[in-house]
């Protein structure tokens, strides 16, 4: 494969990732604003503008290097400023869920675009279908991955919100390991050659194939 195609492939991965992460972060900010917390808005994060959300290393350098892992700048949320109609715990739960939910919505929309364009004969049509299909896979993975109950992923905030108090001790102790459990979750499947995402991937590929026919 020529160098040009190689670079083009990186760009083809990079652009959907940046757009999806922007929507993800925006959804967090939007949910927090809806619950009454203006912190994210004050920091200029209540926007779909990718430039407000990208992290130079996690969103640009790593994906362009081909590392299948990245992150965007976290949106600041201050649960103290939620409206009194919600508890801080439940509020954080909803704010955390908003991100993966937005990726699920994006995946569904992309699936629609894919279904419309996959039968195209023109090269541009096929290009759009390719991008849309990739968006489906990427966003489904983003939604599932972020819902893993591992600190500091969104799933861990969901656990914060629903975990009964009597389990909070071990849970907090687990969180005190910081990013270590996340590293284990990412590295172990790589080493074992088996990934919990494999079934998800297969499901989506089946779905895409089914839509294409």
């Amino acid at each position: 494969m020529s160098l040009a195609l190689f670079a083009m492939e990186r760009v083809a991965w990079f652009v959907p990732l940046v757009l999806s992460l922007s929507v993800h972060e925006w959804a967090h900010a939007r949910a927090a604003a809806a619950l009454g917390d203006p912190t994210a808005e004050a920091k200029g994060r209540l926007t779909l503008d990718p430039l407000a959300h990208i992290d130079p290393v996690g969103t640009v350098v790593l994906p362009l290097l081909g590392v299948p892992f990245g992150w965007a700048k976290p949106v600041p949320v201050d649960p103290n400023r939620f409206r009194s109609s919600t508890t801080m715990r439940l509020g954080m739960l909803w704010v955390a869920l908003a991100g993966p939910a937005s990726n699920a919505v994006l995946a569904a929309l992309s699936l629609g675009v894919y279904a419309l364009t996959v039968g195209a004969t023109s090269r541009l049509g096929l290009g759009i279908a390719g991008a849309a299909g990739y968006m489906v896979i990427l966003n489904a993975l983003l939604a599932v991955f972020n819902l893993l109950p591992v600190f500091p992923l969104d799933g861990s905030r969901v656990v914060d919100g629903v975990l009964p108090d009597r389990f909070s001790g071990p849970w907090e102790r687990l969180k005190s390991y910081g990013m270590l459990p996340l590293g284990v979750v990412i590295v172990v499947p790589q080493v074992l050659g088996w990934s919990p995402f494999a079934p998800v991937m297969r499901l989506i590929q089946d779905l895409l194939g089914w839509v294409a026919v």
Partner: protein, 498 residues
């Protein structure tokens, strides 16, 4: 959604779709050998051959297609052409690179550009800007004079030498005198340290650089030190000059003391300041560094040694005479009623600093002006009456109970030192002439706390600044403390010394 967001999205979607479109057609999936290709050409079913940089793409007349890898030899192309097969050049790889490189470069440029803009919008300049000293040059000529400063007569006397030196450094140096490089002024808040420093520059007629110690402090290690260097460079250009570092304890704190996170930055700044002080004369600048603090006790010993801040001036709280002078200075240009007795006023304002006296003078004038101007009077007829001053003083006194709330937390812990079961009856005479009788609850360096008792009724506890206390009589102590007990909370503890 603003315009920039839309622009970024459109650009990214364009680039993304472009990339996926380019990736679509990568030639035929099937791979065949050169023998198959040769056979197909012979049979005449080959319609088109596209030359790629790593081989040939072959398109058959029945719609099938395949690639043959490794056929880079021109003879294969000639052979196909000779057999009547159409031949096309594949895309030039350089063109491919250009297609990709341009958008990628655009993205990177946009990111850099917007990133810069957000950085400067946040007020974080470039690093070079950060390293600039924030010292401000307050005019080539400072108008303050020693006469503007009340009290601190001894300090003025010592500073007169500095003024004379700054006026004509070469003459003094010729006589073999080494002037103090640094003058440290220590005194309670509001006693006129800053004004004194300005007066030095004013009397000598030299530029006055003002900087606050906290302005050297930044998150980034090395910035403070760079600012010190920059400040001395600037001052040297204008030498002879006065540099005034206000609140020097912000950077001059004793090194290596204190617990907590890194002190790197402050220590570096301090080290640079020490070096700069050493070099002030050596490198030809006739610069006198004045510094002010109200915590000289926490300053690093290295700052205080001869050759650095070698002249220490204690600026005391204003004496009665000084307060009278200060009032006179601050009331200059205002018409006073003949009944105003500044000497008596000075007696009543014991403990007030110069800044507080200025405030008092201003408030009294404000009352007078309000009285006259609200009745449509002329500004020139404003006349400050004795009543204006006494009202202001009464208002100040009324604010005193605020001490109690402010210090409640402190008192709560400290008052345990005095045993509540052993009341110490005291009688305090305050500066205003009023008297407080009650139980002494607690004493520290600055305050006394007393539970007032009148006719057997005890009122809410008062925290009284010691400055306000004229005299204290504790005649009941001996009766209260019978020989078996003691008022000293530590008295029962046997000393344990290892």
């Amino acid at each position: 959604m603003n315009r920039r967001t839309i622009a970024v999205w459109v650009a990214l979607i364009f680039v993304g779709v472009l990339a996926w479109t380019v990736l679509q057609d990568q030639g035929p999936d099937a791979r065949e050998t050169s023998e198959t290709f040769a056979t197909d050409v012979h049979e005449g079913i080959v319609e088109l051959v596209v030359i790629q940089d790593d081989g040939l793409d072959v398109y058959l007349s029945d719609g099938d297609s395949y690639s043959v890898d490794g056929l880079t030899d021109q003879r294969w192309v000639d052979f196909a052409q000779a057999s009547g097969v159409a031949v096309e050049e594949g895309d030039d790889p350089l063109l491919d690179i250009a297609i990709i490189a341009v958008p990628v470069l655009l993205i990177i440029l946009a990111l850099v550009w917007f990133g810069r803009r957000t950085m400067s919008a946040r007020g974080m300049g470039t690093f070079t800007e950060m390293r600039k000293s924030r010292a401000r040059l307050l005019g080539e000529t400072v108008h303050a004079r020693f006469d503007d400063v009340a009290g601190a007569d001894e300090a003025k006397l010592r500073l007169n030498d500095v003024v004379a030196w700054l006026g004509d450094p070469t003459r003094w140096r010729a006589s073999g005198v080494r002037m103090p490089r640094g003058v440290l002024m220590e005194g309670p808040p509001g006693c006129g340290k800053t004004l004194l420093a300005r007066a030095v520059a004013g009397e000598a007629g030299v530029p006055f650089f003002y900087v606050s110690g906290s302005e050297f402090v930044e998150m980034l290690v090395g910035v403070g030190a760079a600012r010190v260097r920059d400040m001395f460079e600037e001052a040297k250009k204008k030498a002879p000059a006065v540099i005034f570092i206000d609140e020097i304890d912000a950077i001059g704190r004793r090194r290596g003391s204190g617990v907590g996170p890194s002190h790197e930055e402050r220590e570096q700044t301090l080290n640079q300041l020490l070096v700069a002080l050493d070099g002030v004369e050596g490198r030809g600048g006739d610069i006198v560094v004045l510094a002010a603090t109200n915590r000289a006790d926490i300053l690093d010993p290295a700052l205080l040694r001869p050759g650095r801040f070698d002249l220490h001036l204690r600026i005391p709280a204003l004496s009665q005479e000084a307060r009278e002078v200060a009032l006179r200075i601050h009331l200059k240009g205002r018409t006073l009623d003949l009944g105003v007795d500044l000497a008596a006023l000075a007696r009543q304002t014991a403990g007030l600093s110069g800044a507080e006296l200025e405030n008092l003078a201003n408030e009294a004038t404000l009352k007078a002006a309000r009285r006259v101007l609200q009745e449509g009077g002329d500004a020139s007829t404003v006349r400050v009456m004795p009543a204006d001053f006494s009202e202001c003083l009464a208002e100040r006194a009324a604010r005193q109970p605020g001490f109690d709330r402010l210090d409640a937390a402190m008192v709560a812990s400290a008052s345990q030192l005095v045993r509540p079961d052993l009341p110490i009856p005291v009688q305090l005479t305050l500066v205003g002439g009023s008297e407080v009788t009650g139980r002494l609850l607690w004493v520290d360096a600055q305050f006394v706390k007393v539970a007032p008792q009148a006719d057997g009724e005890s009122g809410p506890a008062l925290v009284i600044p010691k400055m306000q206390v004229l005299s204290i009589a504790a005649d009941g102590v001996l009766e209260a403390a019978d020989p078996g007990t003691s008022t000293d909370p530590w008295a029962h503890q046997t000393p344990e010394l290892a």
